[in-house]
């Protein structure tokens, strides 16, 4: 019996393969986008975790100095008090070619270090002079020309750009004898110890030695996850539509089966089985899709993470069981959620009487009110979240609240707008059109909600990215004010170059920097000479009067926006760089594309305070017309291939390329979401088609041609899409504002001005209209060609 009944149910899909495809496509798209984001996030997280685990010390608390370093004698004193600690010295090792992060550990006390393979290397070798350094093969490129290198062991287990060694070698290479950056607090401390707070009040205990990259990149992944969920939600609208259609069209079948003795419970169970089967199939396709999308996007994500945060993530994707399970799970769960309403309708469907259209409209109206109330609640709680709490999560709560809230309010709003519109109707036909549009709303409102979300996201994210890009361009013009940037191979070569340039009357602006440990991470300090370039062009956001005079006088520093916001330091406040080095904040400048904190002081002050600052990078100021010639001259005179000369345009192009790559993923997901929303409208209209004949037949009978009815169908669809787009505009702008002023500040540490791009909106409106027109075209075509007999049937019998 079950087989016969299931066979009858499934035969529907055999006769309607397109409909089945729509359902599977919708679900596969939803699962695919969701699992693509999950795969990317999973890969990146695994990358961070692996990198952190290879360096050991994950999951342990650390002791950090409030400023500067911890001295070895302080470490010994704490060890002599019985505390089991492992010292780590970390710093930037300046090489002939750029610099790398050097991590020095005490091999005798450090927790397990998988990054240091002992099988291939005599173990004591690492401890004995000349020591040994460990690094990833990719890092080797930077060291090739470095003289006097200690023995090297290559290992795949370290991130690119990180070098690991024993602390004795590290302190020599970093020229930081007797200094320690942090102390890892080891497990299983002996009994009867004095508290660290008493022994070393100047050191701060931090709860876990989590890698900084993970914290910084969290925002990026949260961003992707939000997108993934949005796409999933939009995809579920499609599933809802096609499941609704599949059930609507089989109402007759259900009645017949029940008349033949299939009980309601069995019917519902069979329908659920059918849906789960479809969900499994679609989920599997979605996983393949997700894998492909993730594999396609991962290189860009990886480039973004390296460019923005310096976090290394492999560009290749690996399959994880948890990912497969969560993908299929989401497909099943999503199908259940999307079809819950349809299934419950079946369960409550009377055996005999078709539910009256009027009754349904009544239900729709009250549910519109209910949804709008919930929507208002969501919006209010989103706003409350951001008022009450700080942080990224509050920012995203605001976004979620406003977006979902607006979507829920949409049907009531549209209904109201249509009612107002109906007052303008002058003819009977116009009156019918307005009334019919309102009657149609409940069926199509889900798709319109999907469209609203997709459009608002598009406007919001588009505005954010474009505003960012515009700001970034302007900022680069200010920041990259030198005509040529030169990097020499050695201090000697740099000195020769300077002399040579000075002879030619070219101004050289040295770019010199050093790092001090600050709150557990290195803080970069640049030293600048007093020059009009900075005074006139530096992108200052806020400053004391005559800020650059104070900087030149050596008493004050300029800080970047990231530092200002994170430490709440603004012009006039005092910044402590080292215990004995305090500076007044003279101004705050914008510093996009860099998540780290930064300080600018006058060069003489930097040289006085810090040792061993390389002097190899310069900005050159000259007449722009002379740039090509001078670049050629430098290349000819200083033949060394390692001297790098790049003009302003070149460096801008590079920066912009990095910037654009950062938003490739966002753009791709954005477009995919919009595509899914368009698909949602199509399926909704197809669903409605079946229910609409009884509404259209009387109008046809009253003397409106099928052709005209078809045009009206198209028009109606376009009108609803236009209304939705118009409503999406303010929502998108709110979203953009939140992204620029809240999310960006939390995620990156900078606030961006908002620019609006009305032409983009127009383009988007056209896109939405196109989607609506394409979606309405199929039913409209059907209507234009329908046989009168079909319409007559409406009168012949109740459905």
């Amino acid at each position: 019996m079950r087989r016969a009944a299931l066979g009858a149910l499934l035969s529907h899909w055999r006769r309607h393969p397109l409909q089945l495809m729509t359902l599977i496509t919708g679900l596969a798209l939803a699962t695919g986008l969701w699992s693509a984001v999950q795969a990317i996030n999973g890969e990146a997280r695994a990358g961070y975790a692996q990198a952190a685990a290879q360096l050991g010390g994950t999951g342990f608390d650390v002791l950090l100095p409030s400023d500067g370093h911890i001295s070895v004698s302080r470490y010994v004193m704490l060890r002599r008090e019985g505390w089991l600690l492992a010292p780590v010295l970390e710093g930037r090792w300046h090489l002939q070619q750029g610099s790398v992060k050097l991590i020095g550990v005490d091999l005798l006390s450090h927790p397990e270090l998988p990054a240091m393979p002992t099988s291939a290397v005599p173990p004591l070798d690492t401890l004995t002079s000349p020591g040994r350094i460990f690094l990833h093969p990719n890092t080797m490129d930077q060291l090739v020309e470095q003289p006097n290198l200690p023995p090297i062991t290559l290992t795949e287990n370290l991130p690119t750009g990180v070098v690991l060694s024993d602390i004795s070698l590290a302190e020599q290479l970093l020229q930081q004898q007797g200094k320690i950056s942090r102390l890892i607090i080891l497990p299983d401390q002996p009994m009867g110890l004095k508290p660290l707070k008493v022994l070393a009040p100047e050191l701060h205990r931090h709860s876990s030695d989590s890698p900084q990259a993970a914290r910084l990149t969290d925002s990026f992944h949260l961003n992707l996850t939000a997108f993934g969920l949005l796409s999933f939600a939009v995809g579920l609208f499609i599933v809802h539509g096609s499941v609704g259609l599949g059930i609507e069209q089989r109402r007759g079948l259900f009645r017949t089966l029940r008349a033949m003795g299939v009980s309601l419970r069995l019917l519902t169970t069979l329908l659920l089985c059918e849906l789960m089967l479809i969900a499994l199939l679609a989920g599997s396709i979605g996983l393949v899709l997700g894998y492909l999308v993730a594999a396609a996007l991962l290189p860009d994500v990886s480039a973004t993470l390296i460019g923005l945060y310096g976090a290394t993530v492999e560009g290749s994707l690996s399959l994880r069981a948890s990912w497969l399970l969560s993908g299929v799970g989401m497909a099943l769960f999503g199908t259940l959620v999307a079809s819950a309403q349809a299934i419950s309708n079946i369960y409550n469907m009377p055996l005999l009487v078709a539910p009256g259209v009027q009754a349904r409209a009544g239900v729709a109206r009250s549910s519109q009110l209910k949804m709008a109330t919930i929507g208002c609640g969501l919006m209010v709680s989103g706003v409350a979240a951001v008022l009450l709490f700080d942080g990224l999560i509050a920012g995203f709560t605001l976004l979620a609240g406003i977006m979902l809230g607006a979507a829920l309010i949409l049907p009531l709003l549209l209904s109201g707008l249509l009612k107002i519109g109906s007052y303008t109707a002058r003819s009977a036909l116009a009156e019918w059109i307005w009334a019919d549009m309102r009657a149609q709303l409940p069926g199509i409102s889900l798709a319109l909600m999907a469209l609203l979300l997709a459009l608002a996201t598009n406007i919001g994210v588009g505005t954010m990215v474009s505003s960012f890009r515009l700001t970034f361009l302007g900022w680069m013009d200010q920041r990259l004010s030198a005509e040529i940037y030169v990097t020499a191979q050695s201090d000697q070569q740099a000195a020769d170059l300077t002399k040579w340039l000075t002879k030619r009357g070219v101004t050289t602006l040295p770019i010199r920097w050093s790092e001090v440990p600050h709150q557990g991470s290195p803080l970069r300090i640049y030293g600048v000479v007093d020059h009009a370039t900075y005074r006139d062009k530096w992108p200052v956001l806020q400053a004391l009067p005559n800020a650059w005079d104070h900087v030149a006088a050596g008493s004050a520093a300029m800080i970047n926006e990231q530092l200002a916001r994170r430490q709440n330091l603004w012009p006039g406040d005092v910044l402590t760089l080292k215990p004995d080095w305090q500076m007044t904040v003279a101004g705050v400048y914008s510093d996009y594309g860099n998540p780290h904190e930064q300080v600018i002081v006058s060069l003489p002050v930097l040289l006085e305070r810090m040792d061993n600052i390389p002097n190899r990078q310069f900005g050159l100021r000259l007449d722009p017309e002379d740039v090509p010639e001078l670049m050629n001259n430098i290349r000819e005179t200083f033949v060394s291939p390692s001297i790098s000369v790049i003009d302003q345009a070149g460096i801008k192009a590079r920066s912009l390329a990095v910037f654009d790559r950062t938003f490739v993923v966002t753009g791709a997901l954005n477009l995919l979401t919009l595509g899914v929303a368009g698909f949602a409208i199509l399926t909704s209209l197809l669903t409605l088609w079946n229910m609409r004949l009884p509404q259209l037949a009387p109008i046809w009978a009253l003397g409106i041609t099928r052709r005209k009815l078809a045009w009206l169908e198209l028009l109606r669809s376009l009108a609803l899409a236009t209304l939705t787009t118009l409503l999406a505009l303010p929502l998108g702008l709110i979203l953009a504002w939140a992204l620029l002023s809240i999310i960006n500040v939390e995620a990156f540490g900078w606030k961006l001005p908002m620019y609006v791009f009305p032409m983009d909106w127009l383009r988007l409106l056209l896109l939405a209209l196109l989607a609506a027109a394409v979606a309405a075209a199929i039913p409209a075509r059907k209507l234009a060609r329908i046989k009168p007999a079909e319409l007559l049937k409406v009168f012949a019998h109740e459905r």
Partner: protein
């Protein structure tokens, strides 16, 4: 010849929700039908004859009284038991045919019998032939004429070998010629299958061809 009582309707009343009980569809209706016999129920449009058929088919609930089919009282049955009754003992033929559009003629014919348990293929082959559907088995309902569709519906119902066949204006959607042919065939086959027939019709002509005829008017049978 004394026959077993198959259907017994005792003092059944039915009132639609929200309806004034004084104006109920019918009050205290009583009716008997023996196995293998037929009865025609006639009445005006809206007299409630279809509703009474739905009650007998366990498709709808009545307010008071009792209906027994083959000794089973309907009032105490839950949905599952009602479904089982319909699956095994009662078959329905509707005015709108109600074929499954996604199944072929053959699949439609077999559907109720397969749901009921064990199809009697020999009987079904006979039915198919007698109903003139032998050449149409692979077609879908939309490819058939109204008369053909109703013959499939009748075949589907009788394929089960039900004890009771309920037919609601089975020829109401057909023209006169087709109507007469389908009706002849149906009565003949019902007789052969040994089922009892409960037929709702507004046609006195058709009603007169059955064993008994009952008229429903103002909520009462006469």
């Amino acid at each position: 010849m004394a026959r077993d009582l198959l259907l017994s309707i005792r003092n059944v009343s039915k009132c639609f929700p929200g309806q004034d009980p004084e104006r109920a569809v019918f009050r205290d209706v009583s009716l008997d039908l023996s196995a293998g016999t037929s009865i025609a129920l006639t009445g005006e449009s809206g007299s409630g004859k279809s509703t009474l058929l739905h009650l007998v088919g366990a498709l709808d609930h009545f307010d008071s009284g009792e209906i027994e089919i083959d000794g089973t009282g309907l009032s105490k049955l839950n949905d599952t038991a009602r479904a089982a009754l319909r699956r095994c003992k009662v078959a329905l033929v509707f005015q709108q045919f109600n074929l499954v559009p996604s199944l072929t003629v053959e699949q439609n014919m077999l559907l109720h019998a397969r749901l009921g348990g064990s199809p009697d293929f020999e009987w079904i082959t006979t039915l198919t032939r007698r109903l003139g559907l032998a050449d149409l088995t692979t077609r879908y309902p939309e490819q058939l004429s109204g008369g053909q569709q109703q013959r499939v519906a009748i075949g589907r119902a009788l394929a089960l070998r039900p004890k009771l066949l309920l037919a609601d204006e089975p020829t109401g959607n057909l023209d006169e010629t087709a109507s007469a042919a389908v009706m002849d065939l149906m009565l003949e086959l019902v007789h052969e299958s040994g089922a009892a027939l409960f037929l709702v019709t507004h046609s006195v002509q058709i009603a007169n061809r059955l064993d008994r005829r009952v008229h429903l008017s103002a909520g009462q049978v006469a």
